[in-house]
């Protein structure tokens, strides 16, 4: 069982971390949640049917991230202050010139921010389906949707995200 567990950690650990990082702003929060999810997987592994682990992991990690987000929203005042500090920091870094903050990094940051701003389940669908290319069936099980809902909501989320980024890009050019 340990071998199976280690294989799951190596196969899905990085994807889970990506999911958590794209939902949460804090990298350390994301790592904490992934660690907890993998430890929970170890305790649940004997009762999980083989093949269902990826969906179980996604559900567990996503739920924990959403819980963390809700807790953060309760401290919204503090969060606003932190975002303000983040923006100041980003502006400071950008002021140091193109060597410090490349255009590519800026685009990546914009993309991550836009993904984080999406409502659920659009955000999770973009991450799981488009970024991680996970199977429709796995995503449907993890998000408690039908396979067709996964497809349609992903389509709508992607289009919304694309248009937001295009608008953002046009504003910058203007």
């Amino acid at each position: 069982m340990r071998q199976r567990f280690e294989q799951l950690v190596d196969t899905h650990g990085a994807r889970l971390l990506q999911l958590a990082r794209l939902i949460l702003r804090s990298a350390s929060d994301a790592e904490d949640i992934v660690q907890d999810s993998l430890i929970k997987l170890w305790s649940q592994l004997p009762s999980l049917e083989p093949g269902t682990e990826p969906a179980w992991l996604v559900t567990c990690t996503r739920n924990a991230c959403l819980d963390r987000l809700r807790a953060q929203r309760r401290q919204s005042g503090l969060l606003r202050q932190m975002h303000s500090v983040d923006r100041e920091l980003a502006r400071h870094i950008n002021d140091q010139g193109p060597a410090a903050a490349t255009l590519r990094q800026e685009q990546t940051r914009q993309l991550h921010d836009a993904i984080r701003a999406l409502p659920e389940p659009a955000r999770s669908l973009i991450i799981l389906r488009d970024i991680q290319d996970q199977e429709v069936a796995t995503v449907a099980k993890a998000l408690d949707l039908t396979p067709n809902q996964v497809k349609v909501y992903t389509f709508r989320a992607r289009r919304t995200l694309r248009r937001q980024l295009e608008e953002c890009s046009h504003e910058q050019v203007a």
Partner: protein, 183 residues
């Protein structure tokens, strides 16, 4: 049976029962076209969607930090030693109980009169040992429990509570043969 994590209760995050609107079928067909890449040349919006999907697929996943991986794997190799401590503690308690129970057998002397005061002292000694034994067991459990997180074993279901020992009445007949055996 699978223990699946609970889904979010928030209706906005749980849209399975949501009304599948009029455009649902159209969007489903569009998504299938994006996925297959067929018949896109005549629809610039769908072409842009597909290109955007391709660019999203190029976002690299971060590496799982070694410390995190090690912590998780170490957890799965869980500490087995606390079992030994628990077994030792149980053995000590059991030894005290057995010695206490059996030792008077060798000193059994029907001719010796046991006064009520002797009996009261003996009862007190047994109860003290019993209480101390339970205290040792509980202390050991408290100290060992945090290290006993194992998937196959649910710590809360572990019953360390010892039944009250039946010595006073059970063994009284060894000291006072005239006393009727307790029920």
């Amino acid at each position: 049976m699978n223990k699946w994590p609970e889904q979010p209760r928030n209706a906005a995050e749980h849209p399975r029962a949501a009304f599948e609107d009029k455009g649902f079928e159209t969007d489903l067909a569009a998504e299938d076209r994006i996925q297959s890449g067929k018949d896109l040349s005549q629809d610039p919006e769908l072409s842009a969607d597909r290109a955007f999907r391709t660019s999203l697929g190029q976002v690299n996943a971060p590496r799982l930090p070694n410390e995190l991986r090690k912590a998780v794997i170490d957890h799965s190799h869980g500490p087995d030693r606390p079992w030994a401590w628990l077994a030792m503690a149980a053995a000590v308690v059991l030894s005290v109980i057995i010695v206490t129970a059996l030792d008077p057998l060798g000193q059994r002397a029907p001719s010796v009169e046991i006064t009520d005061q002797d009996w009261a002292q003996l009862t007190l000694a047994i109860e003290t040992l019993n209480a101390q034994g339970q205290q040792i067991a509980l202390t050991t459990k408290r100290q060992v429990s945090p290290h006993l997180i194992m998937p196959e074993f649910k710590m809360p279901s572990l019953q360390m509570q010892l039944d009250p020992l039946p010595y006073p009445d059970s063994f009284r007949r060894w000291f006072q043969p005239g006393v009727p055996q307790p029920r």
